[in-house]
């Protein structure tokens, strides 16, 4: 870029705008850093006034998150053998013993199963539909595409009533399969729209060449188009996964025990004597961290994913 360019901002402008943006970024990051920090605080430190920035880190929150505990009397404490590992030691110091694992692990596992299951299904079905919409003349194509998009305008609570009734009839309530199918249906709109955009960008000539070489249409699809669309499919998948991972409304209304995911569970973590904020923060940290990592890796594809492909940069 030449130094005479009229559109290149001056050094001073760059400095000022950089400073303002960084200030905003630091402020906006504070709540997230606070979550991570609180996870390593002791319960006393977490509710100290003034709020503690520097503190003695402890894994107590994480131990509380993953275990259920019962209080023991000093007599009992003396009669028990020495704690055999560090987390038992932490619990014993509070005059408690570990009674068993908490439900967090199970909830996290549910989130994983439902998240990956629904992502796989919505990508599988979405790729097929997107390919058909992109390459063939499907009757009433525009109407179908708009219909797929409009399913996103329904408030989840509005559909939740009949789905609740329907699932009860079918025996799908509070089941992994029920939630996977539901999230797939919600995610399909995103995956069809995004993937259609990606497949539209693949030149027709590749397929034509394959067809001339004697491939069937189906072979051309999975040997030529799919590899070309791999990046698009991967980033669409991560967006579907993030949606299913974060979803709360359906999860809280349609699941209670068996298939409950982590978002409705984390706010219900309550320790002995009031909300155990370090444990809540520990649960939130474990749950949010994967998404943060994905976001950083995905930053180039972000815009397209969150705008349904409406903005392509």
């Amino acid at each position: 870029m030449s130094s005479f360019s009229v559109t290149e901002p001056s050094k001073r402008q760059k400095w000022i705008s950089g400073l303002l943006v960084i200030t905003y970024a630091v402020v906006t990051l504070m709540p997230l850093l606070w979550i991570i920090a609180t996870g390593f605080k002791s319960p006393e430190d977490s509710i100290a006034y003034p709020p503690k920035v520097l503190f003695q880190p402890t894994l107590e929150g994480y131990v509380n998150l993953f275990t259920t505990q019962t209080r023991i009397t000093p007599n009992m404490k003396d009669s028990l053998p020495e704690p055999s590992n560090w987390y038992e030691q932490i619990v014993r110091d509070k005059n408690m013993v570990i009674a068993g694992p908490s439900r967090y692990g199970q909830r996290f596992l549910n989130s994983t199963i439902i998240g990956f299951g629904s992502t796989f299904l919505s990508i599988f079905l979405g790729t097929l539909a997107a390919y058909a919409f992109s390459r063939f003349k499907v009757p009433i194509k525009d109407d179908l595409l708009f219909f797929i998009l409009s399913t996103r305008m329904m408030p989840p609570i509005a559909v939740a009533i009949p789905i609740f009734l329907m699932y009860r009839q079918l025996g799908l309530s509070d089941s992994h399969l029920g939630m996977i199918l539901l999230y797939t249906a919600v995610n399909l709109s995103l995956s069809v729209w995004l993937l259609k955009g990606f497949i539209d960008e693949i030149p027709l000539e590749y397929e034509e060449a394959a067809l001339i070489d004697g491939y069937t249409r189906f072979q051309a699809f999975y040997k030529v188009v799919l590899p070309q669309a791999a990046t698009g499919i991967a980033s669409t998948a991560i967006f579907c996964l993030i949606f299913a991972w974060n979803e709360y409304a359906f999860a809280v209304l349609l699941t209670s025990g068996e298939a409950q995911t982590a978002p409705p569970f984390i706010p219900t973590i309550i320790g002995v004597g009031g909300q155990d904020w370090p444990a809540v923060a520990a649960g939130a940290t474990i749950f949010l961290l994967p998404v943060m990592v994905f976001t950083i890796f995905l930053r180039k594809h972000l815009l397209r994913g969150i705008t349904f492909g409406a903005v392509r940069k």
């Binding site: 360019s5 943006v21 249906a185 027709l204 001339i212 974060n246």
Partner: protein, 315 residues
Amino acid sequence: MSGKAVGGVVKATPSNISRKIQGLSDRAIAWIFVAPTIFLLLAINIFPLIWTIRLSFTNFRVNRMNADVKWVGLRNYERILSDPDIWLTMQATAHFLFWTLFFQVLIGFALAYLINKKFKGNDLWTTIIVLPMMLSPAVVGNFWTFLYQPQIGLFNYVVGFFSGVDPASFSMIGSVNLAPWAIVIVDTWMWTPFVMLICLAGLRSIPDSIYEAAECDRASKWRQFWTITIPMVLPFLMLAVLFRGIENFKMFDLVVQLTGGGPGSITELTSINLKREAFEKWRTGYASAYAVILFVTIFGLASIYVKALNKVKER
């Protein structure tokens, strides 16, 4: 192969080649590929929607499955539209919608404008700013109740530190005056990056040559901003407002975790109100009518807005 339904590639391919293509016809493949998606959407979106519409004309209650279900016609709709509480809920939603959109557009555009100055490392900082919107609103909303605690909460402490107000003297989510702003603040914190990203795409789509031409015509920077930057970004900005508007009209997870609609029902947005009718009071028929009204409202407003958006784009 019948000519009309078979399109795309094959149409452009010479007939001697298309004859060589083996296997299923394109038409069959198209249907096999689209059918599962349509089927699933019909089963999990459209069928329930029709069911909701049907229920909305009855007095059905899920917690009394065996009671007689009576057809009540439009009575549910009449009751909802004449219920003053529903209008209070609508007002709360309008307040929330207006101010979140206002702040998000203002801050989002400003940030995009600054980032577009291409200072060193702008990529990294953009990614950091984007983080909040990718996270689970329920989990983050729940944690914000901790930040909002009087005295020990970080938010109250920081506000107290800079303004001199005693951090124990106010409760963002416990006070009738502050709670509507508490949810606006968190939503703005979470979703401003969304508006920012779209504005940034808009700003980057403006070719340098337009500014260069304006410079030759000796247009002031101020004038360039209002006659080039703003009109060129406007369609993008309107798109961002559409997406955020729809999402915030449906807002549930973040606010239900933050305030649960309280104190009283001052932050009870329509979705929260609907959830209360449907899953706490179990007035299924009534709630179904409510859901239909909400969906029609969102759909109607969005359609009008999209028309306006297209007009702006055409200009």
